[in-house]
Amino acid sequence: MSFLDALLGRTRVPPARTEPLFTLSTAVITLESDLGWHPGGRAGVVLRPAADSLYAGAQEETRELVSLAAQEMASGVEVKKDEFGYQWLLFADRDWEDLVALAHMAGQNLKENGAGDRLLAAVFRLEKEGQVLYLIFSYKRGAFYPFIPVNDREKQRDNANEMRLAALMERELPWEKDMARWYPLWGCPV
């Protein structure tokens, strides 16, 4: 956001970055062996639908492409809308690499069809002893951050564990340094 944009009231949504997603394929080793977080077999991409037909086309094409790829990889795909009107593309697969590939493919395809500005986040589920960790990738920041919900209704999250994770993972993943931007996704369907 340049000075002139602010002065003249021009709005630009920053473009989405999808490439950093691939750093996840290797980072999972550290997550598993050092920290004990195991892949939960699920991931998702969440986006804010636009009203125009151009977006609808991009979204439809992406859904078809991802479904085809998922068939080949024997993974499940589901489309869901949440109470805020955001759209979720949900993937289920035992193989971590496949989940990363699907999430990247979905984001990349939307971007190529000109709907990249609609991308909010990609979410990966990990588990440890009944606890769930959502590793969230912000497309706008091109960075990851953790979200460990403790109680959805009370809006409580495990900050201690999240910060431990940040300390240990920030060298392996492009990490969101600003903790004020670790936005939760309550009731995350992933």
Binding site: V13, P14, F84, E154
Partner: protein, 298 residues
């Protein structure tokens, strides 16, 4: 590859032209003050300090005077989620969130910069709007934050405030001007110049404020991707705004500049010229145009 809905060249040009005119009027005013000699630098410093304090504490002052209360994510989970997601989409720091306990449907944003910004909504607006409509209203307010409208309008009204001070305290300055003929002549000239500057800048600032509203509407459309939701929210809010009892209207009058829709909406073109916000019809027309622009971008 699809380009985002771009900026509105016409709107940008009008905004730029208005600011240019305002700068010209202010330069003229400064030249007159300079010609008149000493005695006014103290006033300028005084106004600078006054506006500076007002600007610096704008978030707290406006919240306090509106009776708004900051709410935690636990108290207003839906509101916080909407604001967080918009902040993430726009790559803005998340503003603080406040609620005004009144049934009048409205929303406003304030704060000196994006890091110290607050968005506030009334209970009434939360009850009346659907989540996507509320999101559109929040996106409009967050565009105000992003465009730094608080800063722009504070700076734009700086010398207008100086001029209005001189007008109000004419007799004080008149006495100050000394007994000799030249001194009182100078005072008279400064007084007349202040009056002219004040009137012209008043219209220019109001025009600028209206253009910033259009820009914020456009920003909301770009952020949410659905101009229709904002249009529907505006219709809903203004429909119920007209039915508000007089007492509330007067109470709310001073804060119109911050609101998404002013409490007292005039009908004719003169009222429009004096207004901080464009008329509902103009905003709806503009949003319809945005809807078409989005469709045509192939």
């Amino acid at each position: 590859m699809r380009r985002q809905l771009g900026s509105d060249a016409g709107l940008t040009a009008r905004m730029f032209f208005t600011m240019f005119l305002l700068a010209a009027v202010y330069l003229f005013f400064l030249a007159v003050l300079w010609q008149a000699g000493v005695g006014y630098s103290g006033l300028i410093i005084f106004v600078a300090i006054m506006l500076g304090v007002q600007y610096y504490f704008s978030d707290r002052m406006v919240l306090w005077s509106m009776g708004a209360r900051e709410v935690s994510p636990r108290e207003a989970p839906e509101l916080h989620t909407l604001v967080e997601r918009l902040a993430a989409l726009a790559d803005l720091p998340k503003p603080r969130v406040a609620v005004v306990p009144t049934s009048m449907p409205n929303a406003f944003a304030t704060g000196r910069n994006p890091k110290n910004a607050v968005v506030a909504v009334t209970r009434g607006i939360m009850e009346r709007l659907t989540p996507p409509e509320l999101e559109a209203v929040l996106a409009h307010e967050m565009s105000h934050i992003r465009n730094r409208d608080m800063t722009v309008l504070t700076l734009a009204s700086f010398f207008a405030t100086v001029a209005s001070f001189i007008m109000q305290n004419f007799f004080y300055f008149g006495a100050f001007g000394g007994r000799d003929r030249e001194g009182s002549n100078n005072t008279m000239i400064v007084y007349l110049a202040s009056m002219v500057v004040w009137v012209i800048s008043f219209f220019l600032i109001r025009a600028l404020s209206r253009y910033r509203e259009f820009a914020a509407d456009r920003g909301a459309a770009i952020l949410t991707g659905s101009p229709g939701q904002l249009a529907s929210a505006l219709v809903k809010i203004s429909g119920s705004m007209a039915r508000i009892p007089q007492r509330d209207l007067r109470q709310a009058e001073a804060f119109n500049a911050f609101f998404i829709i002013p409490a007292a909406a005039g009908g004719n073109s003169l009222m429009e010229l004096l207004s901080t916000h464009p008329s509902l019809q103009r905003r709806l027309d503009y949003l319809r145009r945005l809807e078409r622009e989005m469709e045509d971008r192939r």
